[in-house]
């Protein structure tokens, strides 16, 4: 169970650009839930993920995971149980290192980074196997530098790396937004498969209303730091793109985009 309680967050406090993003924002997410989050620009979607991951601090309020208050916990400690994929494919991988080296780093998450060999040779076959399931031909490119791969290939690799180890939360921050439609589709399908297999609690921010409707068992629409639509279970299943499109257009017009 992940809970955000009475979150307050101001940007640029005390200046003319002061923006109040969250004012008493509350959210609780059950274990194993797959939450899709949509919303206008500046509605607080990404800020919410950053608050959960500890990338930005809150002015007031609490972040609670399984009844433990983690509000003051450092970001890198929180990430020990979080897998995260960003919009920018470059953020989830190391471009100057090879696919094999990248996978090795991800494989060592939580096991400590001491003076043992960086790559466990015995695991190479397993990596190859994992990559071959992606159908991108990456299994033959283990020694290729990740910087030489396409955005879609890098994002798929980033997703694989984020979910390689047992994690409690998967945080997806518009992870298909920078990809072409066909690649986005492949990455999204893979995401659905991984979440299903691992039964990991997932929060996915997306600009694609169709993905938000098709995937996940809870849908959140955010606007000006509030969840204006929050449906789960049967209600969520019944939602069609058309149902939320009207509301989405309305809030988007208000914001001028």
């Amino acid at each position: 169970m992940l809970e955000l309680q009475h979150i307050h967050k101001l940007y640029n406090p005390g200046t003319i650009n002061e923006i109040c993003l969250f004012e008493d924002f509350n959210l609780s997410i059950k274990d194993g839930q797959f939450v899709s989050v949509v919303g206008s620009n500046g509605s607080g979607k990404t800020s919410m993920l950053n608050i959960i991951c500890g990338s930005i601090s809150v002015d007031a309020g609490k972040i609670i995971v399984n009844s433990v208050d983690i509000t003051k916990q450092k970001d890198f400690i929180r990430h020990r149980r979080i897998g995260r994929v960003f919009q920018d494919p470059a953020k989830g991988t190391c471009p100057s290192m090879t696919i094999l080296e990248n996978l090795s780093i991800a494989d060592n998450k939580g096991k400590g980074y001491g003076l043992g060999r960086g790559t466990n040779k015995a695991r190479i076959e397993e990596y190859r196997e994992m990559l071959s399931h992606l159908n991108l031909g990456l299994e033959d490119k283990l020694h290729t530098k990740v910087g030489a791969l396409s955005g879609g290939q890098r994002q798929t690799l980033a997703l694989l790396m984020a979910t390689m180890n047992p994690i409690e939360f998967l945080i997806l921050d518009e992870h298909t937004a920078a990809l072409d439609p066909k690649t986005a589709e492949i990455v999204m399908e893979l995401t659905g498969k991984i979440v299903e297999e691992k039964k990991v609690t997932t929060i996915m921010v997306t600009h694609n209303l169709r993905y938000a409707v098709e995937y996940g068992d809870r849908l959140l629409m955010m606007h000006q730091g509030k969840a204006i639509i929050d449906k789960e279970g049967e209600e969520k299943k019944a939602i069609q793109v058309e149902d939320i499109l009207g509301t989405f257009n309305q809030i988007s017009i208000e914001c001028g985009n």
């Binding site: 989830g92 100057s96 090795s104 780093i105 060592n108 998450k109 043992g116």
Partner: protein, 293 residues
Amino acid sequence: MTLLLSVLEQGMIYAVMALGIYITYTILDFPDLTVDGSFPLGAALSAVLITKGVNPILTLLIAFGAGAVAGMLTGIIHVKLKVRDLLSGIIMMTALYTVNLRIAGRANVPIYNMTTLFDNGLVKGIFKGSLAAFSNVVIILLITVIMKLLLDWYMNTKSGYLLRAVGDNETIVTSMGVDKGIVKIIGLAIANGLVSLSGCLFAQQQRYFDISMGTGTMVIGLASVIIGISLLRKASFLQVTTRVIIGSIIYKACVALAIKLGMPSSDLKLITAVLFLVILVIGMDRSKRKKVA
């Protein structure tokens, strides 16, 4: 012949320092000016310890340790106190000037006729007669190769992978649940340890310590790294660390050539700087990478 040997000797001594700068500049993307202080730090320690009759091999270890502490402090100033990278290095470099003077006791310490890495019973026993001229170069080659192999080994450990990752993409280190600041501090410590060890070697080879020895360390190291990485790009069959060592030798050869062609040796630092500029510009032309600048 003497010129060639002296180029090889000094080129390879500076190569150890250049390996350190390779870590900070290329891997960590951190312009670390601490090196202008940690190079003479190693030299000062070397001179004082040799004078006291300490085992020369032990002086190398002590110099590495002291340099590592200096690098660690730069890292802590940058990471924990959130001072900009360039400024953190400048602060440490300035502070080290006094530290080095205090260690050495005065601005210049000669160590002629003492037991050093290059002057000891064992070396005299092995290199006899006409071989004696080669003793320095062989010893330096040995130490440089050992340092290179150690660095290569480290870069392939789990910890070394993280070091490479942090310069590439800090976010991924956080994603792996590791404090990226600590990784940077480790990188700076290893880098300055190498630089200080190089200074220690330099003092013993030159048989003196001088407080101004460190001026331009950064420039010499950067020039070597850029020659190794940009200009020797075609030689990609060689490991990067090997290329940096070759780069350092080439750079030293260019400086030696300039002096041979009639420049007075008092112009050394000017030659160093101008040559660096030339290499920087050539490096930029040939590779479109922005990072070179």
